[in-house]
Amino acid sequence: MNQLLKPNTFKSGPDSAGRFGGFGGRYVAETLMPLILEVEAAYAKAKADPSFDAEWRRLLKDYVGRPSPLWYAERVTEHCRAQAEPGKGAKVYFKRDELNHTGAHKINAVLGQILLAKRMGKKRIIAETGAGQHGVATATACALFNLPCTVFMGATDVERQQPNVFRMKLLGAEVVAVTSGAATLKDAMNEALRHWVANVEDTYYCIGTVAGPHPYPMMVRDFQSVIGEETRVQMQEAEGRLPDLLVAAIGGGSNAMGLFYPFLDDPSVQMHGVEAGGHGIETVTGHAASLTGGRPGVLHGNRTYLLQDEFGQILEGHSISAGLDYPGVGPEHSWLHELGRVQYVNATDKEALDAFQLCSRLEGIIPALEPAHALAHVLKVAPTLPAETLIVMNMCGRGDKDIFTVAGHLGVKL
């Protein structure tokens, strides 16, 4: 019964064992365990050191270009109101993390982690990437700090994200095409973990999302929380109050966690995490909605909701977005899902594709396919809400990398 009681604060997790309620933890092979504990201790020390935070914030301001603007999406708002009953149609804002250097929110947590790796005396960096955004961000930071960088990427994703592969190579990173499994993000993460086991002495693993063994889900969340912290201040300036609804896309869930976390204890603020519905969550392997279409299990070092078959074998997720087709999700999301603090919904490939085009034409912003899922949901709910409702949607990435995918789906040959 006790587990149904809601905590006094939703911001207290994780506990000392790295758990958010029953989720999270450190499910790794013994070879990695001492290293995970080393990362945890190093991060605790860095977090307590004001000079670490100051250096990270300096990089965010002068290298990344933060704070990212909060944009009132007037034409999207008008579009929603045109379909709404009188007095309805929420006001839609975009938190413009696509304006960050490298084109997505990923750089926020990468810079924090690279600073940590340097403190730990690590000589090289490895990372996994799906769509390539995290790989590009990691390769960028490694160039800046003169650290050798190896990025593991599923061979399928290497194929469908050529621009980002080229970018990573330009930045001096080695891109390893992973051919095991279905050769997507899940397999890239397996391979990065395997590589880390074999190179524990000098290597730091820079994880791209709020998943993996503790302390990564907490650490990546802390770094990404800059998104929500800025949003609080900017919304106060723009409207003199907090937003009513936050909307963000969920693959592993780092951009959503970053937007949501600073608002978790504000009861007036609702939150919707939008998973990739792919061909529809009623299809068996045609989606990547771990929370709405999966169940709890253990993968990649944490206990969380997973796409899996009845025997506990992990299923491949599908999404039009290579950044969302991960079969798991960050453990803090699993916890917030079970507590009911955040509502998890989904948008299909087609809905995302439609929102992608709509956003381009209405706002002059070509979104990445990831936030296009969030926007698809906004387009569904905004017309049903009162006109004074304030929505903030995280525009977590820009769509340059996706134009080939989208063109393909629209039957255009580039």
């Binding site: 001492p34 074998q313 992990i314």
Partner: protein, 271 residues
């Protein structure tokens, strides 16, 4: 006394270490892997380790990854693996059997139900790769209550401060991971092993077996001498994989080739 303890006691009396060969359940099909399992004691296996196929074996190299994929393709499940052990037990009541795998299929089966069924099937020990002592509560107490040993991995990275935590949670024997790396990718360094095993011995009375990076009869003989046992996995899987036809099916001599290799390893361990 458990089968594992009894076996190590008997080997000690004999004055030699154990050979612990590995097979992946259902690789490349249930009948072939069952035939290999049945043939192993006669070929000189002292204990047997059975891999439970999983889609995402994060500590395994390409050879065992592929074995797991072949097993899954052939319909491997945890229940099917337990059935193999049950069939084996009908003929062999002495050779200890250890399951090695990952946590998610066990959780999916239901941890308590798994422990009951595994013990009833004649499983003697469990190695769960992604279950460090910190996360063992979900399985270890129930397994030990059912008389099954939780065999822990100790790695070169496991420092002296951490060793007691890992060893106190272990029973049966200790599995020393000879390399920092994944299975089947490099060979164990004899000098490093000569230094590592006494370090672990100082903390435990349990037998120590060496795995990861043990491929040849010479390496197995050395490992069984410097410690109390040698685990050979990828080298055997490699032999099986190379014996398959173009469609990945076993040939008439597949089982014999693997068992011949077990015999050669056993001869070396017996010195």
């Amino acid at each position: 006394m458990s089968r594992i303890a009894a076996k190590f006691a008997a080997l000690k009396a004999e004055g030699r270490g154990a050979l612990i060969p590995f097979l992946e359940a259902y690789d490349p099909d249930p009948a072939t892997s069952m035939a290999i399992l049945r043939g192993m004691p006669g070929a000189g296996a002292d204990l047997i380790e059975i891999g439970v196929p999983f889609t995402d074996p994060m500590a395994d190299g390409p050879i065992i990854q592929l074995a797991g994929q072949r097993g899954l393709k052939a319909g491997a499940t945890l229940a099917g693996t337990l059935a193999m052990v049950r069939d084996f037990r009908a003929e062999d009541d002495a050779t200890p059997v250890i399951l090695m795998g990952y946590l998610n299929p066990i959780l999916s089966y239901g941890a308590d139900r798994f422990v009951t069924d595994a013990a009833a099937s004649g499983v003697d020990g469990l190695i769960v790769v992604d279950m460090p002592p910190e996360e063992a509560e979900v399985l270890a107490p129930a397994a030990q209550a059912a008389g099954m040993d939780i065999i822990r991995l100790v790695a070169p990275t496991t420092d002296d401060a951490r060793l007691p935590l890992v060893l106190n949670a272990s029973s049966g024997f200790v599995y020393y991971v000879a390399i920092t790396g994944i299975t089947g990718t490099r060979s164990a360094d004899p000098e490093a092993l000569r230094a590592a095993i006494p370090r672990i011995r100082a903390h435990t009375d349990l037998p120590i077996a060496i795995g990861f990076g043990v491929r040849t009869p010479e390496q197995a003989g050395f490992a069984a001498k410097v410690a109390d046992g040698a685990v050979v996995a990828s080298a055997l899987i490699d032999t099986l994989a190379k014996s398959l036809d173009e469609q990945g099916r076993a040939r008439p001599d597949s089982v014999r080739k693997v068992l011949d290799q077990v015999r050669a390893l056993a001869a070396a361990v017996r010195g």
